[in-house]
Amino acid sequence: MNLPMLWIIPALPLAAVALNLLFGDRLGKKGTSFLACGAVGLAFAAAIRAVLTLAARSPEERQMVETAWTWFRVGDFSADVSFLLDPLSAIMVLVVTGVGFLIHIYSIGYMAEDPSFRRFFLYLNLFMFAMLTLVLADNYLLMFVGWEGVGLCSYLLIGFWHEKQSATDAGKKAFIVNRIGDFGFLLGVMFLIAWTGSVNYERVFAAAPHLFVAGGSIITLATILLFVGATGKSAQIPLFVWLPDAMEGPTPVSALIHAATMVTAGVYMVVRSHVLFEMAPATLEVVAVIGAATALMAATIGLVQNDIKRVLAYSTVSQLGYMFFACGVGAFGAGIFHVMTHAFFKALLFLGAGSVIYGMHHEQDMRKMGGLAGKMPITHLTMLLATIAIAGIPPFAGFWSKDEILAKAFATGHYGIFAAGLLGALMTAFYMFRLYVLTFRGKPRFEEHAAHGHADAHGHDAHAAHGAHDDHGHDHGHGGPVKESPWSMTVPLSILAVLSVAGGWVGIGKPFIHGESWMATWLEPVLGHGPHMKHLSAPAEFALMGLSVAVAAFGIFMAFRAYLQQPSIATAVRERFAGVHNALYNKYWVDEFYGAIAVTPIHQGAMRLWRFWDEKVVDGTVNGVGYVLEGVSALLRLFQTGYVGTYALFIAFGVLALFLHFLRS
C-alpha cells in the first residue's frame, strides 16, 4: 500500500505559492487561477485519498503519523516537522480543503477585475498551506507554525487593499490581537514542555495524567493559557474585537478565513487538547462561560448592525461562542460538528453576501438593498437555505449541531449556559432573517442608475462613515444593472447550499437512530466516550429540540414582522430603547475601552519612556559624565598655560619631589 503522503497536502498549495511567486507574472489571470485552484483541488483530492485510507482502517488504528524531518533538537527537547491524520484532523482537513477549493473557484469570479489578482491567490494559497499545517501538525509547535501562518495570511488578506487606511488598520489589529493570544498559547505550550518535556500530542497526552494532578493549578494554568490562544484566534471575549474589523478584506477571504476555517482553529486546538482540558474542570468552566458570553454578546451586537458583512461577522463570533461552550461543557464532538456545519453555511452566507455585494456594485449597507430575490435568484435561494440552516430549523445542517450543543449543555447541568444558548439561538434566527429580509425581500431601496452616481459621489463619505466598505478602487460594473453573478460564483454557492442542507445529517444521533451518530463514532478514537457525559432520555431530547425550533421560529417570525410587514415596529423599538441600541450599535464600546486602557497608555508611556527616561535620564547621565569631565578639564586647563616656562617649572618641581623621595629612602 502506498503511503498516504500527508505532507503533500500542505505542500501542494505551498508549491503553488512558489510557482506563482516565480512565474506568476507570466501566467496571466487564467493561468494564475488555474494554478491556485488546481493546487487546492489536488490538495483536496489528496486529502480525500488520505482520509479514505484512514477510514479503511479499524477504528483503533485510525492514526497516521508522518515525520518529514526533525525541525530542531536542543538538549532534551526536540520538535519535528511531522504530520498527523486522525479522525479529528480528517474532518478539519476535508473541510479546509473542500470549502477552500470552492472559495478559490468563487474568487476567480469575484476578484476577476482586481489588478492584484495574482497577489490575492498567492495569499490565498499561502493561507491554505498554513491552515493545513495547523490542522495536520502532530505537535503543538508545528501547529503554532500554522497558527501564526494563518494569522499572517489573515493580516495580509485583511489588508489586501493596502492603500486603504482602514484595511491596513484592521489587518494590523488582527495580527496584534492574535499575537496577544499567541503569547498565551506559547506560554501554555511551554508549561507542557517544562512538565512533559515534549510538544508531541501523543506524548503529552500520554504523560499528562501522570504528571499533572487533575484539577491542579498547573494544568489549569496551562490550559487557561492555551485557551487564551484560542480566544485570540477564534475571536472570543476578550479578544474578539479584530474579527468584525477583518471584514475589510475581500469577501471570499471573509468566507474562507474569518468564517469557515481559520477562526475555528481555536476550537480545533481546544478539542485537540481535550485530554488536558478534561483534567482541568475549572478551565472548562471558564471556556463554557466565555463561549456563552461571547455567543450572547455578539448576537446582541449583530441585531442592530446594518452592514451585511458585519452582521455575518458578529454571527460568526456568536457561533464560535457556541462551539466553545460546547467544549466547555465537555461536548468536544459537538463543537467539532458545529465547526463543520458552520463552515458550510457560514461560508455560503459570506459568499452569498459577496455575490450580493458584487451584484450591488460594492454596496454593503443593507438599508440600501431590498427586493433582490428576483434579480439574483440563485443567490437568493442559496442564501435562504443557509439562513434557515443557521437559524436552526430542521433538517438543515445548523439544527443538528446547534441542538446537540444545547442538549449537551442541558444534559451536563449547565442550565445557565443552556439558557444563554437558547437566547442566542433566538437572536440568531432574528438577525439572520432580518438580514435576509432586508436584502432580498421588500421593495428595492435603491435606484438602479442614480444609486450608483450617488454611490460615486458619496463614496468617500460612506468610506469614512462605515470604515467597512468593499470599495477597492476598481470600477467594474459601476452604473450597470443589478444582476446575477457569473457561474464561477454561483456554482460554489450551489454546492455549499447542498452541504448546508445535508451536511448535518452525519450528526443525527440518539433520538432518531439507534446508537451514536456517525459523527460521534468517527470521532470516538480521538475523543473517547466521555464517561461523564450523561445522555438524556429520548423524550427530553425531543422536548429540547422542540424548544429550540420554536425559539428559532419565533425569531424568524419576529424578523419578518418587524422588517417586512410592519417596519414601524423596528423603528419604534429602536427609539424606545435608544440607549441600548446605541450600546449595541457601537459594539459596547469595546474598541474604545481597549484604546483607553491599553493602546493609548502604552503609546504615551512609551513616548515618555523614550523622551524622558532614555533621552533625559540615561543619556543625561552619560552626557553628565561628559560635562563633569569637561568641568574638571577646564580646571586642569588652567595649568596648561601654553608657556614652556610653566611646564619647565612643573618638571622642576617633579624633579625636586623625586629628589626628596630619594633623600628619604
Binding site: 616656562g645 617649572l649 633623600l663
Partner: protein, 178 residues
Amino acid sequence: MVPYLFLGFAGLLIATALMVVLHKNPVTSALFLVLSFTSLAGIYLLLQAEFIGMVQIIVYAGAIMVLFLFVIMYLNLQHDVEKGAQIAVRRGIGWMVGALMLLFAGLIVRNGGFSPGPVQAVPPSLEGGNAQAIGRVLYSRFLFPFEITSILLLVAMVGAIVMIKGRPAADGAEGEKE
C-alpha cells in the same frame, strides 16, 4: 697634577656655564657654551674617555653650537630684554628651585645615595685605544640601539628640513628666496 687639572677645568666649566645662563647676549652665551663644552672635553680626557672627549668637541662644539650660532645669526638676535615684575618673580623662583635642587643633589651625593652596580674587576682593554674599545662594544652589544639612533638621526634630519622648508604651496615664493 690630574686633580689640579680637574679642578681647573671644573672651575672653568662652572664659570662658563654660569655665563651661559647669565649673559644677556645669546651669541656670547653660545660662545661660553662652546667653551664649557671644551672644558668638559678636557674633563673627559682626564677621566680617560679620550674618544668621548674628542667627539664632544666635534659634535657639540663643532656641529651643534655652530648650528646654534647659525640660527642666532640668521634670526639676528641682539641683547635679550629682560625686565618687569614677571621676569623678576620668575628669576626668583628659578634660582630658588636651583638652589634647592643643588642642595638635594649635594645631600644625595654626600650620603652616597647612588648605587651604580658592581664594579667590574677587569678594566676594559685599552689596547688599540679607547676608541677601539668603544667601537667593539658599540658594534656588538649596542648594535641595535646604534642602528636605531642612526634612524633617529635620519628622521631628525628629514624633519628639520621639512620644517624649515615650510609648506610649498602656501609660501613657495618665500622658499625660493631662502
